[in-house]
């Protein structure tokens, strides 16, 4: 059977053709393909690692952002509270100042009223005195012309005047 005895012609051509094929493909074929594919797979690995890193970074940034947000909110609440307190304090202070001022004004007014009353009384008194002197003068002039009971009348007048003086004061 010539099935299991290798034929020289085919051996010869196989060595040449397969050798040539191997040379060509090993030189221009497979290394180009495998190196490109390996480059690509390393790029994919790197991209995946980068993506993971960025993901972690994003998560960190988000947490930081959240923290900043809560901090800001806290601070905002604090400032608001402070502002309200200060406002209240200012209002209270203003109210106090106003009320004390009002008290002072009222007291001043009272004092002034009293002083004016005093001076009015004094004026009235001196007016009254002048009037009474005038009246007395007129009466005296008339009485003295009659001269009936001048002495008696004068004495009475003096007495009356002194007693009214006491009563007025």
């Amino acid at each position: 059977m010539n099935l299991v005895t290798p034929d020289f012609g085919l051996l010869f051509w196989m060595v040449i053709i397969f050798g040539l094929l191997f040379f060509v493909l090993a030189r221009f074929g497979f290394p180009v393909i495998t190196s490109m594919v390996e480059k690509r797979s390393s790029l994919i690995d790197k991209s995946l690692a980068d993506a993971r890193e960025i993901d972690a970074m994003m998560a960190g940034m988000k947490a930081e952002h959240e923290k900043m947000l809560t901090d800001t909110r806290k601070e905002q609440a604090l400032i608001l509270k402070d502002a309200t307190d200060r406002g209240k304090a200012i209002v209270a202070e203003a109210r106090e100042a106003a009320s004390s001022e009002a008290g002072k004004i009222i007291a001043d007014a009272r004092a002034q009223i009293a002083a004016e009353k005093e001076s009015a009384l004094r004026d009235i008194r001196s007016e009254v005195a002048a009037l009474s002197v005038g009246v007395a003068e007129k009466i005296l002039r008339k009485e003295l012309s009659d001269d009936v009971s001048t002495d008696e009348f004068l004495a009475k007048m003096v007495e009356e005047a002194s007693s009214s003086d006491v009563r007025l004061s």
């Binding site: 099935l3 005895t5 034929d7 196989m14 493909l25 497979f30 594919v37 690509r40």
Partner: protein, 333 residues
């Protein structure tokens, strides 16, 4: 291959029994012309160049159509019997002498065709990677089809040979794998450019196995040779081990040769036998003929599918074993 059978079957459909052995062996064997089919009793065949060197008259080169049907040309004819049956012989003093024969036979033509095809496929794929930036663009078309096959072998080389050396061996393993795969599939295809039983030919598988043998033994490291000649075994085994190891190193390529050759050959023979059932049954009446034809077609289809599987598995096994042998020769301490 199968397409050739009808014509031959028709020729033999007279009273004489169908020569199954002849049909099968003419299909799995080599020939000086590439027989495609018979139309109306005329053989359609591509004549191929015959290149022979006679011991007496030197080189001869002529087309195989000169020696068709037992004709003789320049003293050469195809022997019809004897040790050299089917081979070209020279008449020297009434004796048939086999000249040095490097003819472009059917197998050689098929080998040239499939090698050109493979070179084209791989170089076109490489061209795609040269012209495109593979980090920005996914491969398309041919490159997308070839990349997984090539990378499968490349990664197998990395696993079996190791990170340090695999780049040196990966091109050989890729070439061997794609060569075997392509020729296995071409062998299953029955119509013209296919149909040659190349990987079922022992000369082809032998050359492939010898390439692996050389890759293993020419570049084996110190550790590998120490394991063969000075293995770390008890004293009384020291003289025996080198013999066993050398024997095992020689048996490895032989097993590679036989495994691929026998698997592909057996597959082809099974498919051909299934198809031949049709022509054997032709004379047993329409019922038997019809039912057996159905059976034969079904089994033929099944075997064809099985052979597709085997074509891949055998290419893969050959490459994997080669890479494991190479890996053993590059093992570190």
């Amino acid at each position: 291959m199968a397409i050739l059978v009808p014509a031959r079957g028709a020729e033999a459909s007279g009273d004489e029994p169908v020569d199954i052995g002849g049909i099968i062996f003419s299909h799995i064997g080599d020939s000086y012309e590439w027989h495609i089919t018979d139309i109306g009793g005329h053989a359609i065949a591509i004549p191929l160049p015959v290149i022979v060197r006679s011991r007496t008259s030197g080189w001869h080169c002529f087309m195989s159509s000169r020696i068709g049907h037992g004709a003789s040309w320049e003293g050469f004819h195809v022997a019809s019997s004897g040790d050299n049956e089917g081979k070209l012989v020279e008449d020297v003093g009434g004796e048939e002498v086999r000249p040095l024969d490097i003819s472009i036979t059917k197998n050689v033509a098929s080998l040239m065709f499939s090698s050109l095809l493979l070179a084209l496929l791989v170089l076109l794929t490489a061209r795609w990677y040269r012209l495109h930036d593979s980090s920005r663009e996914a491969p398309r078309g041919l490159a997308a089809a070839m990349e997984p096959l090539i990378m499968m072998i490349h990664n197998m080389a990395r696993e079996n040979i190791g990170e340090d050396d695999y780049r040196k061996y990966s091109p050989y393993l890729c070439t061997a794998f794609l060569f075997i795969l392509l020729n296995n599939f071409l062998g299953i295809i029955p119509i013209f450019p296919g149909g040659a039983n190349l990987t079922g030919n022992i000369a082809v598988t032998m050359v492939l196995a010898i390439c692996t043998f050389l890759a293993v033994n020419l570049f084996g490291n110190k550790h590998y040779y120490k394991e063969i000649f000075l293995p770390d075994v008890p004293g009384f085994l020291k003289p025996i081990m080198p013999v066993i190891e050398v024997f095992s190193a020689i048996v490895k390529p032989i097993s590679l040769t036989i495994r691929l050759f026998a698997n592909m050959l057996a597959g082809h023979i099974m498919i051909l036998a299934m198809v031949c059932i049709i022509f054997i049954m032709a004379k047993y009446g329409p019922v038997l003929f019809g039912s057996m034809t159905a059976v034969s077609v079904l089994f033929g289809l099944f075997l064809d599918l099985l052979e597709c599987l085997v074509a891949f598995i055998q290419a893969y096994v050959f490459t994997m074993l080669s890479s494991i042998y190479i890996g053993l020769s590059r093992q570190k301490e």
